[in-house]
C-alpha cells in the first residue's frame, strides 16, 4: 500500500526555525489535515514537498522511495502536485494554458491547442466549474482563479496532492465543489495533504491530521477518532479557547458612514447603505457578488461614476484613498499580495506607511516611534517574525495578513474601518484576538464594516448584515434574524436570472 512519509524534516531561515525534526506518514486514499498557527511551518513543509525549497535535514519518501526533488519539475515527475497558498497563475495566458503550463500537449515543440482546449474543457466540466478554457486568467475573479489552481491538481494524474489553504478565497458553493472533488480523489487512492485554518472542514474531510506548533510536531492523529475541536485548538494554540466569537451586545450610535447611490464599472446600479458608530456591519455574499468592488468604490480605490460618500455628515468628493484616510475612512483590502503588502520593505515599515503622516513633523520620520508601534503590534497580534526589520515577504501568509491589519489598527483617528475578509488565512487563536480588537474599536465609537465570505464569522460577530447578490444589496438582517439558511437564501440569485460571473 502506497504511503507518504516525512522523517526528521528541519528547515531554518535566518532568525527562524521554520521546521524542526518533523516526521509523520500518510497512507494512500487518505485526506490528511495539516494544521497550526500562522507561521507554524505548514507552507514550508509543503514547499519542501513540492521541490520549491530544500530541507536542511530529513527525508520525504513516497512508497519508501526517497524523494530528492530539487525543482517543481522533479516533484511533478515523482507525482506530486501542489496548490500553493498564494495563487500562482499567469494573468495574460488563457485558463487552458495555465492549467497545462510546463506540460503542454505538443507535437515537435508545437502546442496542440485543439487537444489542449478539449482536455481542459473536459476537466472543468467534469469538476463542475463553468469557466471558458480560452478566457484569460486576468479576466477571472479571485475565486475563479482559485478554482483554476485546483483544477490543476486534477488535470495531472498525481499520487500526492497538497492543497495549501485552498478554500481561503472560495465561496461555500465553490468549496462544496472542491470537497466533492477531494472525495473523488481519495476514492481513487491519492494521498491528499490538506492545510486549513477552518476546523469544520478538517472534521468534514480528513481521515487524520497533524498539528504543527512553532515548527515542531505538536500532535499526530492517524485517524480522527476521539479528536475534538477542543483538543485540536489546544494543540494548535497551546491554550483553550472557549468561544471564538465572543460576541457581546453593543449600542449603535449616530450614522458615521453614509453611502448614497454609489456606482462604478463593476457595480453598475447605484447602491446605498449606512454604518453607525459602535456597530459591526457585515457584508455577506457569494464570490463575485460585488462586495469588494463596492468597498473599493466607497474608499476611492476605483473611481466611482456616481454617488456620494459621507463621513460624519461631511461629503468626500471625489474620493481617493488618501482623502478617505484623512477623513477617517480606512479599508483593509482583500487581496493582500496585490493590494496589501509592500514587498521588499520591513514589517515595521509596512505598519507605519499610512499612519506615519500623523507623527512625522515637517515630513521627517521618527524611527524610534515607528519601531515602538511595530513592536507593540508584533506582540499584541502575535506576529511571528524574527524582528520588526524582517522583509514582509518572508513572513507566512497569515502573519502578513496580521501586519496589514496592524497598519490600519495603528491609524489614530479612524471613524470608519472597512475590513475585507479580515481573517482570511488566519489561525483560530489569532481570529479570536482580531474579533476582540474589532469589538473594542466598535465600542470606542468606530463604525466597523466587515466583508466576509465565511458564514459562521458573519453570524458570529456582526450586529447587522447586508447581503449582496449580483452586485446589488439584496437584503438586510438584524442580529436577531441571522441564520445560515436565511443568509444563503438571500445571497443566491433567482433561478430565473443566470448567475453573473465568469467571462468578462
Amino acid at each position: 500500500m502506497a504511503f507518504l512519509d516525512f522523517s526528521g524534516l528541519s528547515k531554518s531561515y535566518p532568525g527562524v526555525r521554520a521546521l524542526s525534526d518533523v516526521g509523520f506518514s500518510v497512507p494512500a486514499g487518505h485526506v490528511h489535515g495539516l494544521m497550526g498557527e500562522n507561521g507554524a511551518g505548514k507552507s514550508t513543509l509543503i514547499r519542501i514537498l513540492s521541490g520549491d525549497t530544500r530541507a536542511d535535514e530529513g527525508a520525504i519518501r513516497i512508497d519508501g522511495v526517497e524523494q530528492r526533488s530539487s525543482s517543481a519539475r522533479d516533484a511533478f515527475d515523482a507525482g506530486v502536485v501542489v496548490v500553493h497558498q498564494e495563487l500562482q497563475l499567469v494573468p495574460d495566458l488563457s485558463v487552458a494554458e495555465n492549467l497545462s503550463l510546463g506540460r503542454f500537449p505538443r507535437r515537435m515543440g508545437i502546442v496542440d491547442f485543439r487537444a489542449l482546449y478539449a482536455a481542459v474543457g473536459r476537466t472543468l466540466a467534469e469538476i463542475g466549474v463553468d469557466i471558458d478554457p480560452r478566457a484569460k486568467v486576468a479576466s477571472l475573479s479571485i475565486g475563479e482563479r482559485q478554482m483554476v489552481e485546483i483544477a490543476k491538481a486534477v488535470m495531472i494524474d498525481a499520487r500526492v496532492i497538497a492543497l495549501d489553504e485552498p478554500t481561503s478565497s472560495l465561496s461555500s458553493r465553490e468549496s462544496e465543489i472542491l470537497f466533492r472533488l477531494i472525495g473523488r480523489l481519495r476514492e481513487a487512492g491519492k494521498i491528499i495533504l490538506y492545510v486549513s485554518h477552518r476546523l469544520d472542514e478538517i472534521f468534514r474531510l480528513c481521515d487524520g491530521c497533524t498539528v504543527l506548533r512553532d515548527g515542531q510536531l505538536a500532535a499526530h492523529h492517524p485517524t480522527m477518532e476521539g479528536v475534538t475541536r477542543e483538543t485540536l485548538v489546544s494543540e494548535m494554540v497551546g491554550r483553550e479557547i472557549s468561544d471564538i466569537w465572543g460576541w457581546r451586545p453593543r449600542q449603535a450610535g449616530a450614522v458615521r458612514l453614509s453611502v448614497e447611490g454609489i456606482a462604478g464599472t463593476r457595480v453598475p446600479e447605484p447602491q446605498s447603505f449606512q454604518a453607525r458608530a459602535g456597530e459591526i456591519l457585515g457584508f455577506f455574499g457569494l464570490v463575485g457578488a460585488g462586495r469588494s468592488e463596492l468597498m473599493r468604490l466607497v474608499y476611492g480605490a476605483d473611481p466611482a461614476a456616481a454617488g456620494t460618500v459621507r463621513i460624519d455628515g461631511e461629503t468626500l468628493s471625489p474620493v481617493t484613498p488618501r482623502r478617505a484616510i484623512c477623513a477617517g475612512l480606512v479599508l483593509c483590502p482583500e487581496d493582500r499580495k496585490a493590494d496589501g503588502i509592500v514587498q521588499g520593505r520591513s514589517v515595521a515599515e509596512n505598519i507605519a506607511i499610512s499612519s506615519r503622516r500623523h507623527h512625522s513633523p515637517m515630513g521627517l520620520v521618527r524611527p524610534s516611534r515607528e519601531a515602538e508601534t511595530a513592536d507593540r503590534f508584533i506582540a499584541s497580534l502575535r506576529i511571528r517574525t524574527p524582528s520588526r526589520r524582517q522583509d514582509i515577504v518572508n513572513l507566512s501568509g497569515g502573519n502578513q495578513q496580521k501586519v496589514i491589519l496592524a497598519r490600519w489598527l495603528s491609524e489614530p483617528d479612524v471613524k470608519v474601518l472597512i475590513v475585507d475578509e479580515p481573517t482570511r488565512g488566519i489561525d483560530v487563536g489569532a481570529k479570536a484576538e482580531i474579533y476582540e480588537i474589532l469589538y473594542a474599536l466598535a465600542e470606542k465609537g468606530i463604525a466597523v464594516v466587515v466583508v466576509s465570505s465565511e458564514l459562521p464569522e458573519v453570524i458570529g460577530i456582526c450586529d447587522r448584515v447586508l447581503v449582496m447578490c449580483e452586485r446589488r444589496i439584496a437584503a438586510e438582517f438584524a442580529r436577531g434574524d441571522l441564520s445560515e439558511a436565511a443568509l444563503l437564501a438571500a445571497a443566491l440569485p433567482d433561478q430565473a436570472t443566470p448567475r453573473f460571473a465568469q467571462k468578462a
Binding site: R73, H84, Q88, P91, L93, R103
Partner: protein
C-alpha cells in the same frame, strides 16, 4: 458615431487602425512617399531593426532586457567578413558569424539565468566587452570584403524585392508562429507574466531564458551579416545605439516591459512607425536638430495612444 470611432481606434486592433490611417495621410500629403522605390528603400532601412526586434520581443516578453544587440550585430558582421576573407569561403564566414552571435547570446543567457545577474547590467557589460572585441579584432578599422559574391546577399532581389527585406519578412512570420504556437513561445510569455508561477509549474525558466538570449544572438548575427553585406564591409562601430531603437519599436508595438505581453503584428507596426518617421522627416527635409524633437514627440504620441487604448480595454 464618436462612440464607434472610439471603439475602432481604441479596440484590440487600434494600433493597426491608427497605423493604416497615418500611412494613408502620409501617402497623400508627403510627396515622393508612396513610390515603389521609396517604399522599398524604407523597408530596407528597417531591416536591421526589424530583424533584431523579432527576438527582442521574446526577451522583453520574458521580462528580460538586452542592451548588447548593437554590439553583437557589429561583431558578427566583422566575424563574417574576416572569416570569409581568411578562408576564402563565404559559407564558412557566415557560419562562423552565426556561431559567434549565438555564443555571445548564450553567455548572456547563462550569466543572467544561472548566475542571476541583472539582465540590464549583464548586457550593458557584454555590450562593451563585445564592442571591445570587435574593435580589437579589426584594430578599429573597417574590414573590406574580398569576394564580391558576399555583396549579392544584400543586392539580389526576388520578384523585385531585395533579399534582406524577404529575410526580414520570413523572420516575422517564423517568430509570429513561434510566439503563438510553440511551447517555447508560450513558455516565454508565461515566464514574463509570472516567473514564480512558471517555475512552480515546472517550466524550465532558466533554460527558457538562456534559449531566448541565444536566439537573440543568432538573429543579431543574421542582421549583422546582412548589414555587412549592405555596407560591403565589417565595421566595428556599426549599429551603435541599435538597442534603444529596437526596444522603442517593441514598446511602440505594445510589448510590455513588465513582461508577459507581446504580439508580432504590434512589433511590425512599431518597426514601421519608426522607419516611416525617419523616411518622412528626410523627405520633408526637416533639419537635423528638429528631427530629434520630432522623433521624441512621435514616440510619445504613439505610446500615449497605446496607453489610452489599453486603458479603454480595461487592462491594468
Amino acid at each position: 458615431m464618436t462612440a464607434t470611432i472610439k471603439r475602432i481606434l481604441l479596440g484590440e486592433q487600434g494600433l493597426l487602425v491608427l497605423f493604416v490611417l497615418a500611412f494613408a495621410v502620409v501617402s497623400l500629403t508627403v510627396p515622393n512617399f508612396l513610390t515603389e522605390r521609396n517604399i522599398l528603400g524604407l523597408l530596407q532601412s528597417v531591416v536591421t531593426i526589424g530583424i533584431v526586434a523579432c527576438t527582442m520581443m521574446f526577451c522583453l516578453a520574458s521580462r528580460d532586457f538586452d542592451l548588447s544587440v548593437g554590439s553583437i550585430v557589429a561583431f558578427a558582421g566583422m566575424v563574417a567578413v574576416m572569416v570569409s576573407n581568411e578562408t576564402g569561403s563565404i559559407p564558412l564566414g557566415l557560419l562562423a558569424a552565426l556561431l559567434a552571435g549565438t555564443l555571445v547570446g548564450f553567455v548572456n543567457g547563462v550569466v543572467i539565468a544561472k548566475l542571476r545577474i541583472n539582465a540590464l547590467i549583464t548586457t550593458l557589460a557584454t555590450m562593451q566587452i563585445v564592442r571591445g572585441l570587435a574593435l580589437i579584432a579589426s584594430d578599429g578599422r573597417a574590414v573590406g570584403i574580398n569576394d564580391p559574391a558576399f555583396y549579392s546577399l544584400a543586392l539580389s532581389r526576388f520578384f523585385g524585392v531585395p533579399t534582406p527585406v524577404w529575410i526580414m519578412a520570413i523572420l516575422f512570420a517564423i517568430f509570429a508562429f513561434v510566439l503563438n504556437r510553440t511551447v517555447f513561445g508560450r513558455n516565454t510569455l508565461a515566464i514574463g507574466g509570472n516567473p514564480e508561477a512558471s517555475r512552480l509549474a515546472g517550466v524550465d525558466v532558466d533554460w527558457g531564458r538562456i534559449g531566448i538570449f541565444a536566439l537573440q544572438g543568432l538573429v543579431c548575427a543574421v542582421a549583422g551579416i546582412l548589414l555587412a553585406s549592405r555596407i560591403t564591409s565589417g565595421q566595428p562601430n556599426a549599429a551603435t545605439g541599435l538597442e534603444l531603437s529596437v526596444i522603442s519599436a517593441c514598446v511602440l508595438g505594445g510589448v510590455s516591459l513588465a513582461g508577459g505581453r507581446a504580439t508580432m503584428s504590434g512589433v511590425i507596426v512599431g518597426v514601421l512607425i519608426l522607419g516611416i518617421a525617419e523616411n518622412v522627416m528626410n523627405l520633408l527635409n526637416i533639419q537635423a536638430f528638429y528631427q530629434y524633437v520630432v522623433r521624441g514627440l512621435i514616440l510619445l504620441f504613439a505610446v500615449l495612444l497605446d496607453t489610452l487604448r489599453s486603458r479603454a480595454l480595461g487592462r491594468r
